[in-house]
């Protein structure tokens, strides 16, 4: 080092007066580094004139050490991975120094890095190519420690054969070495060395027989032989993947029933030999098995297991004997209206069918009717099973028979199964009469974990249970399993699907008699509902609205609904209310009047939530009408009989039919309709909107006077300032008022008045206003114009016919019908924005005795025609 520095000094003698040692060091991050600056060939300066800079920053003189008058050292911590310059400078202590500044500075670059870490987990593998082991050996290892950009760590893989060495360098954590041939039966030593400018370190050495690194192909040509005489056995043959001289192998075999992923492994002690065939035993007859074989170096602890061979599939021969009995069960459904039950008998094949089931025999014996020969006969139910049927590990469920069984009757059912060889033992089941209830199990509890449903229950008291049947049903599919009488907890063994609601029942069986089941519903796993609840109705108020929604259909819930959250939004502010899962309506309160809200409902399960469509509504500008009972009658009369005619005194009635019945289902207008001039009187001021009037062409004194002309008052909420507009704002004697308005009211009831609506319904000829001296209503004169006026609303609110009281259209006046249609329309209209006319329609308040179903109905439709009708006035 010193020599090199001196050489450098000599070479730079003519140029530099400062020299740093060491030159271009590679430093380990985390250590301290000391450099020394020496003054050469000058007396102009001394060590006290020197200072150090690390990049642009002057190093504190606390880190300096004066070696002698011409040498100054500095010690700095090595931090950061980025290389840096370390400079030795001299203060400008003289003119000479100032003029020869470049000679009084020297810098070295500090390259930083980490010492290499010892590579770990070295493993090497040579795979089979064609009929030999590849001469390329591949090794992987785990890098340890960090590496900087300036001091990268490289790795050299060494493979040492007897007499030959190979190596290969890489930056990564794996490498390959190509040997001339794969050195079977030769010792081999492999290791990897990590190295960089700061040092080198070797991994542990793998010193093994070369064959320890071999991974062969799996055995090929696997043949499975089924021999008729051995129904519980299959013979497997295969070909060694590689010649014995290269490698002696040991084998492993696994098998499973077709369709099952549950492999059974043949114990290694049985196959741990250099074999080419093996006989699987104790298999089930007439069952399709899938078999796989793999192999490795026979020497224990040496080599890698090959991949598993491709599937070899074979069905075991049919057995000679059918053991066990069918698993008979029933599904009982109550028949509505009659005292009968519908009983369906289903069965599973015997566990050890030992062959393909060809038919079942069933006998249903009525307990009270034993002697009847018919019931004693065995009924033959053939079963057509395909080859593939038996390949599944799940037992087949066969529908046998369906009967209608009177509630008071009980039957005993017997079933046997047949394969090609013989008959199974008899299975029997008793269906007791309905009144004969045997005790159910108690405390049935169900939990879900690990993708399975776990049940536990307590045995019924005072009853000796012979066994339990655990039944689970979903989407019309039923399955069951039997548990012995000592069982009180089990897991459902069937393939259960996620997000499906299963009804799990435990039936105690008392010597063949099935007891009352205990049932619970459960999901294996819950998810978010597929859709949100549907908002089906709303009841608007000024400061509140009641939302009614429908439950999500069962198949779309995908979990138990834990709660509903109602969100409503006015502008950008969103509020929410959480209600229990058993709620299907809720009244939102503290809303602002005459304000548009967007609402939606979110249904939650533990797996997530789903929201409904957006539902927009406007709160009413005015509150609900509240009529006193006292005026109810007069109101009704007025409503039904008082025509909205500008000046009834100038009119004469050409025809009058006092016998014309007043229709009970006259349009049930309400104060909110705001469209009937008559209504205005019976409602308080809140029921009429400023906008309404503003928007109406009838915003005239006349209109207003007409509005109040009926004189039928008595509304408990008649305190609106609007009332003062009227110049005939008398409370009015109810009787008088009613009397004075009879004719007009009857006109209205005759539907002639309503006929002004653009309903295009033919006018009833019962009443006529043709003799009236007052100008005809616009609709009377220009029905087309009326239609035009109302067309917009007719299209948007085609529920108008509901209010057309014609004999021909009686059906349409049915409130329910109307409501239904209205709802349909409403759904269509949901996305539409409300505009003033719609506001009218929205702000409908039900009158007393009026079906709430009518609520959103009439307004616009009944309003618009009348507007049109009145306009010419």
């Amino acid at each position: 080092m010193i020599n090199s520095v001196l050489l450098f000094c000599l070479s730079s003698e003519l140029y530099n007066h400062l020299v740093i040692t060491p030159q271009s060091p590679v430093l380990e991050i985390g250590t301290n580094f000391t450099a020394t600056c020496m003054i050469i060939n000058t007396d102009e300066i001394t060590a006290k004139d020197l200072y150090w800079n690390l990049s642009d920053i002057t190093v504190s003189n606390k880190q300096y050490t004066k070696i002698n008058s011409s040498s100054l050292s500095v010690t700095i911590p090595v931090i950061g991975e980025k290389h840096e310059w370390l400079f030795c400078f001299c203060k400008e202590v003289s003119n000479y120094v100032y003029l020869n500044r470049s000679k009084f500075r020297h810098g070295i670059i500090l390259t930083k890095g980490y010492r290499p870490g010892k590579p770990e987990n070295l493993s090497c593998e040579a795979v089979q190519v064609k009929m030999e082991i590849s001469s390329t050996i591949t090794c992987v290892w785990k890098k340890v420690g960090r590496s900087s950009t300036d001091v990268p760590t490289k790795y050299t893989l060494y493979v040492k054969e007897l007499g030959r060495n190979h190596s290969k360098e890489t930056n990564g954590n794996s490498s390959q070495v190509n040997l001339e041939i794969f050195p079977h039966h030769m010792p081999m030593e492999i290791w990897v060395e990590a190295h960089n400018k700061l040092g080198r370190i070797e991994s542990g050495h793998l010193s093994k027989d070369a064959d320890s690194f071999v991974k062969t192909n799996p055995p090929s040509d696997i043949k499975v032989i089924s021999e008729k005489t051995f129904p519980t056995s299959l013979l497997i043959n295969w070909t060694h993947p590689i010649a014995e001289e290269y490698l002696k192998l040991t084998y492993q075999i696994r098998f499973c029933q077709n369709g099952s992923q549950s492999w059974t492994y043949v114990p290694l002690v049985d196959t741990d030999k250099y074999i080419q065939s093996f006989r699987l035993q104790n298999l089930r007859p007439d069952t399709v098995y899938v078999i796989q074989v793999c192999c490795k170096n026979a020497r224990r602890g040496h080599g890698y297991w090959s991949n598993w061979s491709t599937n070899a599939t074979m069905r075991t021969p049919e057995g000679s004997k059918l053991t066990g009995k069918p698993d008979l069960w029933r599904i009982i459904t109550k028949v509505d209206g009659v005292n009968e039950r519908q009983v369906r008998f289903i069965t599973k094949d015997p566990v050890f069918a030992n062959g393909r089931i060809q038919r079942f025999h069933i006998k249903i014996q009525d307990k009270k009717d034993k002697v009847k020969s018919r019931s004693e006969e065995w009924e033959r139910i053939p079963v057509n099973r395909s080859e593939a049927d038996g390949s599944s590990s799940q037992r087949e469920i066969t529908f046998l028979k369906q009967i209608d069984l009177a509630d008071e009757r009980s039957v005993r059912v017997y079933v046997t199964a047949f394969n090609s060889v013989g008959e199974s033992a008899q299975a029997s089941l008793f269906i007791p009469d309905k009144a004969y209830d045997l005790a159910p199990v108690e405390g049935l509890n169900l939990s879900s974990h690990g993708g399975q449903l776990w049940l536990e229950w307590k045995a019924p008291k005072n009853k000796a249970v012979s066994e339990y049947v655990v039944e689970w049903a979903a989407n019309g599919w039923t399955d069951w399993q039997r548990e012995n009488r000592t069982t009180t907890h089990t897991v459902i063994k069937g393939n259960l699907e996620k997000f499906v609601c299963y009804t799990v029942s435990v039936h105690p069986v008392y010597s063949g008699w099935t007891g009352k089941p205990a049932s619970v519903q459960a999901f294996v796993e819950e998810g978010a509902p597929l859709e949100g609840p549907e908002i089906v109705d709303r009841k608007l108020g000024r400061n509140d609205v009641e939302l009614v929604w429908k439950e999500i259909p069962q198949d779309k819930r995908r979990g138990f609904i834990t709660k509903y959250t109602i969100f409503y939004k006015n502008g950008s502010k969103t509020h929410s209310v959480t209600v229990p899962a058993n709620t299907t309506s809720y009244t939102l309160t503290s809303l602002s009047g005459n304000t548009r809200y967007d609402a939606w409902i979110s249904a939650s399960t533990i797996g997530g939530s789903a929201r409904s469509l957006n539902h927009s509504f406007w709160t009413l500008k005015y509150g609900e009408c509240k009529r006193s009972p006292r005026i109810e009658m007069s109101w009704l009369i007025k409503e039904n009989f008082w025509p909205q005619i500008p000046n009834p005194g100038e009119s004469t009635i050409g025809t009058w039919s006092p016998h014309h019945p007043v229709k009970a289902d006259t349009p049930k207008e309400n104060c909110l309709s705001g469209i009937s001039v008559l209504d205005v009187d019976v409602c308080d001021g809140k029921c009429v909107f400023e906008e309404d009037k503003a928007s109406l062409p009838l915003k005239k004194d006349k209109y207003l006077s007409e509005e109040h002309s009926s004189g039928i008052g008595g509304s408990s909420c008649m305190s609106s300032p609007r009332q003062s507009v009227s110049d005939s704002d008398e409370g009015g004697d109810m009787a008088d008022t009613t009397a004075s308005t009879v004719q007009y009211s009857s006109v209205m009831a005759s539907n002639g008045y309503k006929g002004q609506t653009p309903s295009s319904q033919p006018q009833q000829a019962i009443f006529s206003r043709s003799e009236s001296t007052q100008p005809l209503l616009d609709s009377e004169e220009n029905p087309d114009m009326l239609l035009q006026e109302g067309s917009k609303h007719s299209q948007r609110f085609p529920r108008q016919p509901c209010f057309t009281h014609t004999a021909q259209n009686k059906d349409s006046t049915d409130p329910a019908d109307c409501h239904q249609r209205e709802m349909e329309q409403q759904e269509l209209l949901e996305p539409l924005d409300f505009y003033p006319l719609e506001e009218d329609s929205e702000q409908t308040t039900p009158t007393e005795g009026q079906s709430a179903d009518w609520l959103p109905a009439a307004p616009a439709s009944s309003y618009m025609p009348q507007r049109g009708g009145y306009r010419p006035q």
């Binding site: 007897l162 039966h185 001289e245």
Partner: protein, 252 residues
Amino acid sequence: MCGFCLLKKFEKQCDYDESSQFACDTERRMNGHVKSMHFQQLMETAAALLSLLLVMAVDSTRTVAASRNQECGNSLQQTLKLTRLVQKESVDLIKTYKASQGEMAELFCKVTVADVPDPNISGLEPSERLASISIHLQAFFPHFKRVYEQQTDLQSPTSPLLAELTTVSTRSKNLATLINSFYQSLFPNLPVPEPAGGPTTLPPPQNVFQQKVYGCVVLKTYKELLANVSRELRTLKNKVCRRRIQINTLFL
């Protein structure tokens, strides 16, 4: 510990152990007969201890010998496996060789050719026979090289024959290395076997027919050598690796 030392120790104990002072005094009062009895007992104990040490030493030797024997057996087993592999590959090679020489290939191999190494293993002692195996194997290397060169001219570069020739040649070198290693582990004080008569004599330049015949004879002879090696190694297994146990047993 020797019996004498034990006696000394006992006397020392009488001098310093106060608790046993009375017993010691009593014994001192007894006559020389008593003393001689003590000496006799101590001598018996010493003899027993000596026997135990001997047994332990012998057992240890036996364990080491068994370990060595296992090592020997493993090495020989590996050598034998490799021999069988080369044997198999040489059989395959001859088939490939015959298949690639055109017509009359069978006849080529029936001709006798000079200058091909003798496939027979010589020597009386296991060391000599092992050395002979090594020397014979090494003697074939130049012949393989010559055959490879000749066949390179006769075959296409992608011919499987050339690849198989390379494989057998390399594998033979591995076998020779393994045998040398085994030889050195068994007879560390003997020189590494090398052909005694200097470099192997190769045949003079040959025509194509002669080359084909020569190649086949080399391979066939080599196959014979391998059969002999295989047989020899099986024999040596009993002689070399088990004899040490016998020696140890005799020692006992």
